[in-house]
């Protein structure tokens, strides 16, 4: 049994943590939140120079070739630091989509630029509050021209290209790469609950596209892409949950009320113990997801859904109880509690809600041999 990251990857995680602490990524997140910028361009350049974006991209395409386990440990640290950079859009969504479905020519064209940070990529899927899920998507491609409106598109304000989900000639969904700097694309930043990460509305009017993967395969490809991204997002959420728990713990030790540290009250202790338990369960499930992703194992769809539900719920729990532990001060703009709270909900919806993932999880279990599931153990007293 060796259910752990290698010493080499643990060292990478330490280096990442040191770097993000030195750059004070949390303060940069606040700066972006309070400004008109959608991300921290200087921090993003440094991250690109260190080769993090291309951690899972093969060396042949300009990446670091560390595999997905490398991307997981970086995600955990980026998530914990709340770094305001388009990392997830470029590395988890755009690069993964191209590695999953791209032709050799597309990989050669896009992956090195993504890995080096020369281009920012993203995924353009959602079409506003009246079109949840894939079934109601209306954006369409005809004669290699895309028309329709996509919002919210993560990092759509700064991305150079997007992988767009749209209906093809047969009305079936497909994936298309669209250059966001070309004619026929209008974009504007939109307000979201977490302005430390930029989001945009993209309006396409006969914008030129190239197909990514086989025509009509969009639904299937999105499902596979989301399984991969779910594991990577789970590590960001795990890092966020741990950071919010650490912040709550620190405050519970420092803050005195009724003549004693509030961390000595069982009301606070039990709350934080529950956050710890949720975080550890999420960590274990995320590790299993990392294994399945790195091996491209048949267990990935189940492991990814499990990791996503556990991590999304843990980060949200940790973030909201961090505010609660801080009391009134936790509700102020000046304290950082709200940064975690915003990010927790943002990430929880980034690939679709926990409700949808739980339903997907059960669907996948229904297709499984029941004998492989964990059942009654031991002896009842």
């Amino acid at each position: 049994m060796n259910f752990d990251f290698s010493d080499e990857l643990k060292q990478l995680r330490e280096e990442a943590r040191r770097f993000l602490t030195e750059r004070n990524a949390l303060a940069q997140a606040r700066r972006v939140l309070e400004s008109d910028a959608g991300h921290d361009a200087a921090l993003w350049r440094e991250i690109a120079q260190m080769g993090w974006i291309g951690a899972a991209i093969p060396e042949a395409y300009g990446g670091a070739g560390l595999g997905h386990l490398g991307l997981c440990v970086l995600g955990e640290e980026l998530g914990g630091s709340l770094a305001p950079v388009p990392f997830s859009s470029s590395a988890y969504l755009a690069a993964e989509a191209i590695m999953l479905a791209g032709s050799a020519a597309q990989k050669e064209r896009y992956l090195p630029r993504l890995a080096q940070g020369e281009a920012i990529g993203t995924l353009a899927l959602a079409e506003g509050p009246r079109a949840p899920g894939l079934g109601r998507l209306a954006a369409a491609v005809a004669r290699e021209r895309l028309s329709g409106t996509k919002e919210p598109v993560p990092d759509g304000d700064v991305a150079d290209f997007a992988v767009a989900v749209a209906r093809g000639a047969d009305r079936r969904l497909g994936l298309f790469i669209v250059d966001l700097r070309a004619p026929g694309v209008a974009r504007e930043r939109i307000a979201t609950i977490d302005p430390s990460r930029g989001h945009a509305r993209l309006v396409f009017s006969d914008a030129a596209v190239e197909p990514l993967g086989a025509a009509g395969e969009g639904e299937h490809l999105i499902e596979r892409l989301f399984d991969r991204a779910a594991v990577l997002f789970a590590f960001e959420q795990l890092g966020g949950a741990q950071a919010a728990l650490d912040m709550a713990k620190g405050y519970a030790l420092e803050r005195y009320a009724f003549g004693r540290p509030i961390g000595s009250f069982q009301a606070i202790k039990h709350k934080l113990a529950d956050v710890y338990v949720a975080t550890e369960l999420a960590r274990s499930n995320a590790y299993y997801g990392a294994w399945a992703l790195s091996q491209n194992a048949p267990e990935l769809p189940l492991a990814a859904a499990t990791a996503r539900v556990a991590a999304g719920d843990a980060f949200y729990l940790a973030a909201k109880e961090n505010i609660q532990t801080h009391g009134g001060m936790g509700y102020t703009w000046a304290f950082d509690c709200h940064l975690y709270y915003r990010r927790a909900k943002l990430l929880a919806l980034a690939l679709g809600s926990t409700r949808v993932w739980k339903d997907r999880l059960i669907t996948r279990l229904e297709a499984r041999n029941i004998a492989t599931l964990d059942g009654a153990a031991g002896v009842a007293p």
């Binding site: 259910f3 934080l272 964990d374």
Partner: protein, 411 residues
């Protein structure tokens, strides 16, 4: 990252598999057999003793114990491997866990070499069974609030008082006991630790009928019971330090709550028609099932993380402390939900008539015990908060106050 045994672990696992295949019957997957091989069945004790003796004979009892205690001198990971393999078999369980998990390790830590030689091997072989005389009506979670008196008389101690929740006292040969030797000092400082034969004159054992209808626990009354001073473990007044050895071993020995798990409730939902169609198609049912699956898997992979540490010869990390806390309340919830799915008939308990041989109904009645025994949910949360997160101890009203000056409630 992989789930493979090292070559040495694989070789050990193969030996365990051979032994089990030749000596025990495999449990049908998903069956409730474990329940029927439980302690209440007639002849269960004899079968358990026989099984323990066979394990001992081939060196599979006390795998991680030192050879000096009669153990195999193996590693913690080898014990885990053995447990994993044995879980696939319908073998008797439940009689030796307290003795081997808590009593003998305490005795071996604090007793003399002669006592280790005398008591450890027979316990390991299943010849002598031990119980733990700790909890009292006035001292459960607050164990140090116990009142059973120990008074020195020459080279003997005289014990008077009452213990409660003593698992297996009625079939045990020996017990470990913590009692109050000095009520005039603060409570943790006035305790002394002993072991004694359970057939000592003056011991009266009465079974407690549980809400499940079974009687797994006892009340044990002491009237002028005499214990030689040579059976004292640790110094006079140092009983709390000795008890901590037992409690630390208890945390390691207490595993996950046994009973219907995700698979049983998932199977039930798949096989059941509700008023609006199959239960498994109901969104509320699916949502609930998914939550238990996520928790079940989280516990499973948390154990893998612990095993990874053991496999490297490291001690388990703090994550190992969450198993019972999570699984006990999950079991209680799964039991209640399984019954809800059966609507009005959910209250019926006939194993012949009910899905999963009425495991859900049985679990509803016994699961409350699992949230209390071996460290209550509340105590476990305190332990996580204090020892893992490093939060300060609660303010104590009983600190530095002589025990006999402490206020006591009516119960």
């Amino acid at each position: 990252m992989d789930f493979d045994d090292t070559p040495e672990e694989a070789a050990f696992r193969a030996r365990v598999k051979d032994f089990l295949a030749a000596n025990a019957e495999r449990r049908a997957p998903g069956s409730a057999e474990g329940y029927r091989t439980g302690q209440s069945a007639p002849g269960a004790l004899e079968r358990a003793k026989d099984w323990q003796a066979r394990k001992y004979a081939v060196g599979f009892a006390g795998i991680a114990w030192p050879k000096e205690w009669g153990g195999r001198g193996g590693s913690a990971i080898e014990q885990v491997i053995y447990n994993q393999e044995e879980a696939h078999y319908a073998v008797p369980r439940g009689f030796f866990e307290i003795g081997l998990g808590m009593c003998i390790p305490t005795l071996c830590t604090w007793g003399t070499a002669e006592q280790r030689r005398r008591f450890a091997p027979p316990a390991l072989e299943g010849k002598e069974i031990w119980c733990q005389l700790f909890s009292e009506p006035a001292g459960g979670s607050d164990l140090a609030g116990l009142r059973t008196r120990a008074e020195k008389s020459g080279e003997e101690w005289i014990i008077n008082g009452q213990k409660i929740w003593t698992s297996g006292a009625h079939y045990s040969d020996y017990g470990i006991l913590v009692a109050r030797s000095d009520p005039t000092v603060p409570k943790h400082k006035g305790l002394t630790f002993f072991f004694l034969a359970m057939d000592s004159p003056g011991i009266d054992i009465r079974p407690i009928k549980q809400i499940s209808g079974h009687s797994h626990f006892n009340e044990v009354f002491f009237t002028d019971v005499r214990i030689p001073d040579s059976q004292r473990l640790g110094a006079v007044g140092a009983g709390w330090q000795v008890a901590l050895t037992t409690l630390m071993n208890e945390r390691l020995a207490v595993g996950e709550a046994p009973g219907p798990n995700f698979r049983e409730v998932f199977e039930l939902a798949r096989g059941l028609e509700l008023e609006d169609g199959p239960a498994i198609r109901n969104a509320a049912v699916r949502d609930q099932l998914a939550q238990w699956y996520v928790k079940t898997q989280g516990l499973k992979y948390t154990k893998f993380r612990t095993m990874t540490r053991l496999s490297r010869g490291e001690t388990p990390g703090p994550e190992a402390s969450i198993g019972k806390l999570v699984s006990a309340s999950k079991l209680q919830e799964i039991a209640a939900f399984g019954m809800d799915l059966l609507e009005m008939a959910g209250i019926m308990t006939d194993p012949e008539a009910m899905p999963a041989q009425a495991l859900f109904q049985q679990a509803l009645l016994y699961s409350p015990a699992l949230r209390i025994a071996g460290g209550s949910d509340e105590i476990l949360r305190n332990i996580i908060a204090e020892r893992v997160l490093g939060l300060p101890a609660d303010l104590r009203a009983d600190k530095d106050v002589p025990f006999n000056r402490l206020p006591a409630g009516k119960r």
